[in-house]
Protein backbone atom coordinates (compact mmCIF):
# COMPACT_ATOMS: atom_id res chain seq x y z
CA UNK A 1 0.00 0.00 0.00
CA UNK A 2 1.60 3.25 -1.15
CA UNK A 3 -1.08 5.84 -0.50
CA UNK A 4 -3.48 6.82 2.25
CA UNK A 5 -6.47 6.54 -0.06
CA UNK A 6 -5.72 2.85 -0.69
CA UNK A 7 -6.06 2.13 3.04
CA UNK A 8 -9.52 3.68 2.95
CA UNK A 9 -10.46 2.15 -0.41
CA UNK A 10 -10.11 -1.39 1.01
CA UNK A 11 -13.22 -0.76 3.08
CA UNK A 12 -15.30 1.30 0.67
CA UNK A 13 -15.55 -0.79 -2.43
CA UNK A 14 -17.42 0.37 -5.47
CA UNK A 15 -17.85 3.92 -4.24
CA UNK A 16 -15.52 5.79 -6.55
CA UNK A 17 -17.23 9.14 -6.01
CA UNK A 18 -16.71 8.85 -2.24
CA UNK A 19 -13.05 8.05 -2.71
CA UNK A 20 -12.60 10.97 -5.09
CA UNK A 21 -14.09 13.29 -2.48
CA UNK A 22 -11.92 11.89 0.32
CA UNK A 23 -8.83 12.14 -1.87
CA UNK A 24 -9.16 15.92 -2.18
CA UNK A 25 -8.67 16.25 1.59
CA UNK A 26 -5.47 14.22 1.78
CA UNK A 27 -2.40 16.49 1.75
CA UNK A 28 1.14 15.27 1.03
CA UNK A 29 4.18 16.83 2.69
CA UNK A 30 7.84 16.17 3.42
CA UNK A 31 9.46 15.85 6.83
CA UNK A 32 13.20 15.99 7.55
CA UNK A 33 14.97 13.52 9.79
CA UNK A 34 14.56 14.47 13.47
CA UNK A 35 11.63 16.79 12.75
CA UNK A 36 8.58 16.39 14.96
CA UNK A 37 5.24 15.26 13.55
CA UNK A 38 3.69 15.72 16.99
CA UNK A 39 4.85 17.38 20.20
CA UNK A 40 3.65 16.47 23.69
CA UNK A 41 1.23 19.04 25.09
CA UNK A 42 -0.35 19.70 21.70
CA UNK A 43 -3.46 18.11 20.25
CA UNK A 44 -3.01 15.58 17.47
CA UNK A 45 -4.97 17.12 14.61
CA UNK A 46 -3.93 14.85 11.78
CA UNK A 47 -3.92 11.18 10.88
CA UNK A 48 -0.80 10.56 8.85
CA UNK A 49 0.16 7.90 6.34
CA UNK A 50 3.84 7.10 5.77
CA UNK A 51 4.71 6.96 2.04
CA UNK A 52 8.44 6.90 2.59
CA UNK A 53 10.81 6.88 5.54
CA UNK A 54 10.09 6.15 9.19
CA UNK A 55 9.23 7.77 12.48
CA UNK A 56 8.67 6.74 16.04
CA UNK A 57 6.37 7.69 18.88
CA UNK A 58 7.59 8.07 22.45
CA UNK A 59 6.75 9.55 25.80
CA UNK A 60 9.12 11.46 28.04
CA UNK A 61 8.71 10.18 31.59
CA UNK A 62 11.00 11.96 34.06
CA UNK A 63 13.58 12.55 31.32
CA UNK A 64 13.40 8.95 30.16
CA UNK A 65 12.22 8.24 26.61
CA UNK A 66 9.68 5.43 26.46
CA UNK A 67 9.25 4.24 22.89
CA UNK A 68 5.68 3.30 22.03
CA UNK A 69 5.75 2.52 18.32
CA UNK A 70 7.76 2.66 15.10
CA UNK A 71 6.09 3.55 11.83
CA UNK A 72 7.33 2.60 8.38
CA UNK A 73 6.06 2.82 4.82
CA UNK A 74 2.40 1.82 4.51
CA UNK A 75 1.50 2.51 8.15
CA UNK A 76 -0.80 5.12 9.62
CA UNK A 77 0.52 7.12 12.52
CA UNK A 78 -0.84 9.64 14.98
CA UNK A 79 -1.52 9.74 18.66
CA UNK A 80 -4.89 8.23 17.90
CA UNK A 81 -6.19 8.75 21.45
CA UNK A 82 -5.37 12.47 21.28
CA UNK A 83 -6.85 12.56 17.78
CA UNK A 84 -10.12 10.85 18.79
CA UNK A 85 -10.62 12.87 21.96
CA UNK A 86 -9.04 16.10 20.68
CA UNK A 87 -7.16 16.34 23.95
CA UNK A 88 -3.49 17.24 24.38
CA UNK A 89 -1.10 14.37 23.70
CA UNK A 90 1.51 13.13 26.13
CA UNK A 91 3.56 11.83 23.22
CA UNK A 92 6.07 12.89 20.63
CA UNK A 93 6.32 11.59 17.08
CA UNK A 94 9.66 12.23 15.43
CA UNK A 95 11.14 11.31 12.03
CA UNK A 96 13.92 8.71 12.20
CA UNK A 97 14.67 9.28 8.49
CA UNK A 98 13.65 11.87 5.88
CA UNK A 99 9.99 11.21 5.15
CA UNK A 100 7.19 11.67 2.65
CA UNK A 101 3.80 11.60 4.32
CA UNK A 102 0.11 12.23 3.64
CA UNK A 103 -2.12 13.93 6.20
CA UNK A 104 -5.87 13.90 6.75
CA UNK A 105 -6.97 16.46 9.32
CA UNK A 106 -9.44 15.88 12.14
CA UNK A 107 -11.68 18.72 10.96
CA UNK A 108 -11.77 17.42 7.40
CA UNK A 109 -12.55 13.92 8.62
CA UNK A 110 -15.43 15.24 10.75
CA UNK A 111 -16.70 17.05 7.66
CA UNK A 112 -16.43 13.83 5.66
CA UNK A 113 -18.35 11.79 8.27
CA UNK A 114 -21.31 14.09 7.68
CA UNK A 115 -20.87 14.46 3.94
CA UNK A 116 -20.03 10.85 2.99
CA UNK A 117 -21.28 8.57 5.79
CA UNK A 118 -19.57 5.45 4.44
CA UNK A 119 -16.27 6.93 5.63
CA UNK A 120 -17.54 5.89 9.08
CA UNK A 121 -17.29 2.28 7.97
CA UNK A 122 -13.74 2.70 6.73
CA UNK A 123 -12.63 4.39 9.95
CA UNK A 124 -14.39 1.77 12.09
CA UNK A 125 -12.65 -1.02 10.23
CA UNK A 126 -9.27 0.71 10.39
CA UNK A 127 -9.83 1.23 14.12
CA UNK A 128 -10.78 -2.43 14.57
CA UNK A 129 -7.55 -3.44 12.86
CA UNK A 130 -5.56 -1.16 15.17
CA UNK A 131 -7.46 -2.56 18.15
CA UNK A 132 -6.47 -6.12 17.23
CA UNK A 133 -2.81 -5.14 16.93
CA UNK A 134 -2.74 -3.29 20.24
CA UNK A 135 -4.57 -6.09 22.07
CA UNK A 136 -1.99 -8.58 20.85
CA UNK A 137 0.81 -6.34 22.09
CA UNK A 138 -0.93 -5.75 25.41
CA UNK A 139 -1.28 -9.48 26.05
CA UNK A 140 2.37 -9.92 25.17
CA UNK A 141 3.48 -7.20 27.61
CA UNK A 142 1.18 -8.60 30.27
CA UNK A 143 2.25 -12.20 30.05
CA UNK A 144 5.41 -12.75 28.00
CA UNK A 145 8.93 -12.55 29.34
CA UNK A 146 11.24 -9.96 27.71
CA UNK A 147 12.97 -12.88 25.92
CA UNK A 148 9.73 -14.00 24.32
CA UNK A 149 8.84 -10.42 23.37
CA UNK A 150 12.24 -10.01 21.77
CA UNK A 151 11.87 -13.28 19.86
CA UNK A 152 8.44 -12.25 18.59
CA UNK A 153 9.84 -8.93 17.40
CA UNK A 154 12.66 -10.65 15.54
CA UNK A 155 10.16 -13.00 13.89
CA UNK A 156 7.43 -10.48 13.13
CA UNK A 157 9.19 -7.17 12.53
CA UNK A 158 12.79 -7.88 11.51
CA UNK A 159 12.95 -4.53 9.69
CA UNK A 160 13.19 -2.79 13.06
CA UNK A 161 16.61 -4.26 13.62
CA UNK A 162 17.83 -2.90 10.32
CA UNK A 163 16.45 0.62 10.48
CA UNK A 164 16.16 1.57 14.15
CA UNK A 165 18.93 2.19 16.70
CA UNK A 166 19.30 -0.59 19.30
CA UNK A 167 18.53 1.59 22.31
CA UNK A 168 15.16 2.55 20.84
CA UNK A 169 14.28 -1.09 20.17
CA UNK A 170 15.22 -1.85 23.79
CA UNK A 171 12.90 0.90 25.04
CA UNK A 172 10.11 -0.42 22.81
CA UNK A 173 10.56 -3.85 24.38
CA UNK A 174 10.42 -2.29 27.84
CA UNK A 175 13.99 -3.27 28.75
CA UNK A 176 17.24 -1.33 29.11
CA UNK A 177 19.87 -1.36 26.35
CA UNK A 178 22.04 -3.54 28.61
CA UNK A 179 19.04 -5.78 29.23
CA UNK A 180 18.59 -6.22 25.49
CA UNK A 181 22.25 -7.19 25.02
CA UNK A 182 21.89 -9.77 27.78
CA UNK A 183 18.76 -11.23 26.18
CA UNK A 184 20.56 -11.57 22.85
CA UNK A 185 23.48 -13.23 24.53
CA UNK A 186 21.21 -15.65 26.40
CA UNK A 187 19.27 -16.51 23.26
CA UNK A 188 22.59 -16.93 21.52
CA UNK A 189 22.07 -15.32 18.16
CA UNK A 190 21.75 -11.93 16.59
CA UNK A 191 18.83 -11.04 14.35
CA UNK A 192 19.19 -10.72 10.61
CA UNK A 193 20.98 -7.56 9.58
CA UNK A 194 23.60 -7.69 12.37
Amino acid sequence: MNHFIEVIAQFIQGEEAVLETVKTFIKPRSVKKNDFLLQAGSICKKATFVNKGSCYMYRDVDGKEEVIEFYFEGMLNSDYVSFIRQEPSTQYIRALEDMEIEDLSYDDLEYLYAKVPSINRAVRMITEGLYCGITKRMLSYQNDSPEVRYQKLVDQRPVLFQRVPQYLVASFLGVTAVGLSKIRKRIGHAPAGH
Binding site: R59, V61, D62, E66, I68, Y80, V81, I84, R85, Y113, P117, S118, N120, R121, V123, R124, T127, E128, L130, Y131, C132, I134, T135, K136, R137, M138, L139, Y141, Q142, N143, G174
Partner: protein, 198 residues
Amino acid sequence: MNHFIELIGRCIPGPGSKAVLEEVKSFIKERGLFRNDFLLQADTVCKKISFVSKGACIKYRNRDGKEEVTEFYLEGMLTGDYVSFIKQEPSEHYIRALEDSVVEEISYTDLNYLYSMYPLMEQAGRILSQQTYCKVITRMLSYQNDSPEIRYQKLVEERSILFQRVPQYLIASFLGVTPVGLSKIRKRLQDNGPAKIG
Protein backbone atom coordinates in the same frame (compact mmCIF):
# COMPACT_ATOMS: atom_id res chain seq x y z
CA MET B 1 -25.96 3.19 31.95
CA ASN B 2 -28.11 0.09 32.33
CA HIS B 3 -28.81 -0.91 28.77
CA PHE B 4 -26.87 -1.62 25.62
CA ILE B 5 -29.19 0.62 23.60
CA GLU B 6 -28.28 3.64 25.76
CA LEU B 7 -24.61 3.10 24.98
CA ILE B 8 -25.40 3.10 21.27
CA GLY B 9 -27.79 6.05 21.61
CA ARG B 10 -25.06 8.17 23.14
CA CYS B 11 -22.98 7.81 19.96
CA ILE B 12 -25.82 9.07 17.75
CA PRO B 13 -27.48 11.80 19.77
CA GLY B 14 -29.33 13.62 16.93
CA PRO B 15 -33.12 13.67 16.62
CA GLY B 16 -32.93 11.49 13.50
CA SER B 17 -31.72 8.48 15.45
CA LYS B 18 -34.90 7.57 17.34
CA ALA B 19 -36.34 5.28 14.66
CA VAL B 20 -32.95 3.62 14.09
CA LEU B 21 -32.55 2.94 17.81
CA GLU B 22 -36.01 1.36 17.95
CA GLU B 23 -35.00 -0.95 15.13
CA VAL B 24 -31.65 -1.78 16.75
CA LYS B 25 -33.40 -2.53 20.03
CA SER B 26 -35.36 -5.35 18.42
CA PHE B 27 -32.03 -7.13 17.70
CA ILE B 28 -30.72 -6.95 21.27
CA LYS B 29 -31.47 -10.09 23.28
CA GLU B 30 -31.28 -10.31 27.04
CA ARG B 31 -30.22 -13.44 28.87
CA GLY B 32 -29.27 -14.51 32.35
CA LEU B 33 -26.06 -16.26 33.39
CA PHE B 34 -25.46 -18.15 36.59
CA ARG B 35 -22.22 -17.71 38.44
CA ASN B 36 -19.49 -19.76 36.71
CA ASP B 37 -21.44 -20.06 33.45
CA PHE B 38 -19.35 -19.42 30.36
CA LEU B 39 -20.14 -16.58 28.01
CA LEU B 40 -17.32 -17.66 25.71
CA GLN B 41 -15.15 -20.76 25.51
CA ALA B 42 -11.66 -20.84 24.04
CA ASP B 43 -11.41 -22.24 20.49
CA THR B 44 -14.86 -21.02 19.60
CA VAL B 45 -15.61 -17.91 17.56
CA CYS B 46 -17.04 -14.97 19.50
CA LYS B 47 -20.34 -14.35 17.73
CA LYS B 48 -21.87 -11.83 20.10
CA ILE B 49 -21.02 -8.55 21.72
CA SER B 50 -22.55 -8.49 25.17
CA PHE B 51 -23.41 -5.63 27.46
CA VAL B 52 -23.30 -6.41 31.16
CA SER B 53 -26.48 -5.00 32.66
CA LYS B 54 -26.01 -6.81 35.96
CA GLY B 55 -23.26 -8.86 37.60
CA ALA B 56 -19.65 -9.39 36.65
CA CYS B 57 -17.58 -11.49 34.23
CA ILE B 58 -13.94 -12.37 33.87
CA LYS B 59 -11.93 -12.97 30.72
CA TYR B 60 -8.84 -15.19 30.85
CA ARG B 61 -6.54 -17.35 28.79
CA ASN B 62 -5.22 -20.72 29.79
CA ARG B 63 -1.57 -20.99 28.84
CA ASP B 64 0.40 -24.05 29.86
CA GLY B 65 -2.17 -24.74 32.58
CA LYS B 66 -1.83 -21.22 33.96
CA GLU B 67 -4.84 -18.90 33.97
CA GLU B 68 -3.96 -15.44 32.72
CA VAL B 69 -6.67 -12.91 33.53
CA THR B 70 -7.10 -10.36 30.75
CA GLU B 71 -10.13 -8.33 31.85
CA PHE B 72 -12.97 -7.92 34.32
CA TYR B 73 -16.35 -6.71 33.14
CA LEU B 74 -18.81 -5.07 35.49
CA GLU B 75 -22.17 -3.38 34.95
CA GLY B 76 -22.19 -0.92 32.06
CA MET B 77 -19.30 -2.51 30.15
CA LEU B 78 -19.26 -4.33 26.85
CA THR B 79 -17.80 -7.81 26.91
CA GLY B 80 -16.77 -10.40 24.38
CA ASP B 81 -13.47 -11.23 22.69
CA TYR B 82 -13.53 -8.27 20.33
CA VAL B 83 -10.55 -9.57 18.33
CA SER B 84 -12.28 -12.89 17.71
CA PHE B 85 -15.52 -11.02 16.98
CA ILE B 86 -13.90 -8.67 14.46
CA LYS B 87 -11.97 -11.39 12.65
CA GLN B 88 -14.55 -14.15 13.21
CA GLU B 89 -11.69 -16.41 14.16
CA PRO B 90 -11.53 -18.80 17.14
CA SER B 91 -10.80 -17.11 20.45
CA GLU B 92 -8.07 -18.14 22.84
CA HIS B 93 -10.04 -16.67 25.74
CA TYR B 94 -12.70 -17.79 28.13
CA ILE B 95 -15.30 -15.40 29.51
CA ARG B 96 -17.05 -16.60 32.65
CA ALA B 97 -19.59 -15.10 35.03
CA LEU B 98 -18.06 -14.25 38.41
CA GLU B 99 -21.52 -13.54 39.81
CA ASP B 100 -25.05 -14.25 38.62
CA SER B 101 -25.31 -11.84 35.71
CA VAL B 102 -27.63 -10.43 33.09
CA VAL B 103 -26.26 -9.58 29.66
CA GLU B 104 -27.75 -7.97 26.56
CA GLU B 105 -26.37 -9.29 23.32
CA ILE B 106 -26.18 -8.43 19.68
CA SER B 107 -24.93 -10.99 17.20
CA TYR B 108 -22.23 -10.47 14.59
CA THR B 109 -24.68 -11.18 11.79
CA ASP B 110 -27.30 -8.80 13.13
CA LEU B 111 -24.75 -6.06 13.77
CA ASN B 112 -23.45 -6.27 10.22
CA TYR B 113 -26.99 -6.22 8.92
CA LEU B 114 -27.64 -3.06 10.95
CA TYR B 115 -24.41 -1.48 9.70
CA SER B 116 -25.45 -2.09 6.12
CA MET B 117 -29.00 -0.82 6.66
CA TYR B 118 -28.38 2.32 8.73
CA PRO B 119 -25.57 4.82 8.13
CA LEU B 120 -26.14 6.08 11.68
CA MET B 121 -25.20 2.63 12.98
CA GLU B 122 -21.95 2.93 11.05
CA GLN B 123 -21.34 6.12 12.98
CA ALA B 124 -22.16 4.42 16.31
CA GLY B 125 -19.91 1.47 15.42
CA ARG B 126 -17.07 3.82 14.47
CA ILE B 127 -17.35 5.76 17.74
CA LEU B 128 -17.64 2.65 19.94
CA SER B 129 -14.62 1.08 18.23
CA GLN B 130 -12.64 4.28 18.82
CA GLN B 131 -13.61 4.35 22.50
CA THR B 132 -12.63 0.72 22.87
CA TYR B 133 -9.32 1.43 21.16
CA CYS B 134 -8.55 4.28 23.61
CA LYS B 135 -9.09 1.93 26.54
CA VAL B 136 -6.92 -0.88 25.22
CA ILE B 137 -4.00 1.34 24.27
CA THR B 138 -4.02 3.00 27.69
CA ARG B 139 -3.72 -0.44 29.26
CA MET B 140 -1.11 -1.58 26.76
CA LEU B 141 1.08 1.44 27.57
CA SER B 142 0.71 0.74 31.26
CA TYR B 143 1.89 -2.86 30.82
CA GLN B 144 4.74 -1.69 28.60
CA ASN B 145 6.09 1.02 30.83
CA ASP B 146 4.69 0.96 34.34
CA SER B 147 6.11 -1.04 37.21
CA PRO B 148 3.73 -3.52 38.88
CA GLU B 149 3.48 -1.07 41.84
CA ILE B 150 2.22 1.69 39.59
CA ARG B 151 -0.18 -0.64 37.77
CA TYR B 152 -1.55 -1.67 41.14
CA GLN B 153 -1.97 1.95 42.28
CA LYS B 154 -3.71 2.93 39.05
CA LEU B 155 -6.11 0.03 39.52
CA VAL B 156 -6.84 1.13 43.08
CA GLU B 157 -7.50 4.68 41.90
CA GLU B 158 -9.39 3.94 38.72
CA ARG B 159 -11.24 0.70 39.43
CA SER B 160 -11.42 0.37 43.20
CA ILE B 161 -14.65 -1.61 42.89
CA LEU B 162 -12.66 -4.59 41.62
CA PHE B 163 -11.10 -5.02 45.05
CA GLN B 164 -14.58 -5.45 46.55
CA ARG B 165 -15.95 -7.88 44.01
CA VAL B 166 -13.05 -9.91 42.67
CA PRO B 167 -10.82 -12.44 44.49
CA GLN B 168 -7.25 -11.25 45.15
CA TYR B 169 -5.55 -13.97 43.13
CA LEU B 170 -7.48 -12.97 40.01
CA ILE B 171 -6.48 -9.32 40.47
CA ALA B 172 -2.86 -10.43 40.82
CA SER B 173 -3.08 -12.31 37.54
CA PHE B 174 -4.68 -9.30 35.85
CA LEU B 175 -1.78 -7.15 37.05
CA GLY B 176 0.67 -9.73 35.69
CA VAL B 177 2.12 -10.64 39.11
CA THR B 178 1.84 -13.64 41.42
CA PRO B 179 -0.44 -13.47 44.50
CA VAL B 180 2.72 -13.37 46.64
CA GLY B 181 4.02 -10.55 44.44
CA LEU B 182 0.78 -8.62 44.98
CA SER B 183 1.05 -9.01 48.77
CA LYS B 184 4.62 -7.72 48.62
CA ILE B 185 3.56 -4.70 46.56
CA ARG B 186 0.85 -3.86 49.08
CA LYS B 187 3.31 -4.19 51.95
CA ARG B 188 5.93 -2.02 50.22
CA LEU B 189 3.35 0.67 49.52
CA GLN B 190 2.19 0.56 53.15
CA ASP B 191 5.76 0.87 54.42
CA ASN B 192 7.08 3.41 51.91
CA GLY B 193 4.04 5.33 50.72
CA PRO B 194 2.80 5.53 47.15
CA ALA B 195 5.14 5.36 44.18
CA LYS B 196 5.18 8.32 41.81
CA ILE B 197 2.78 7.88 38.92
CA GLY B 198 4.37 9.31 35.77
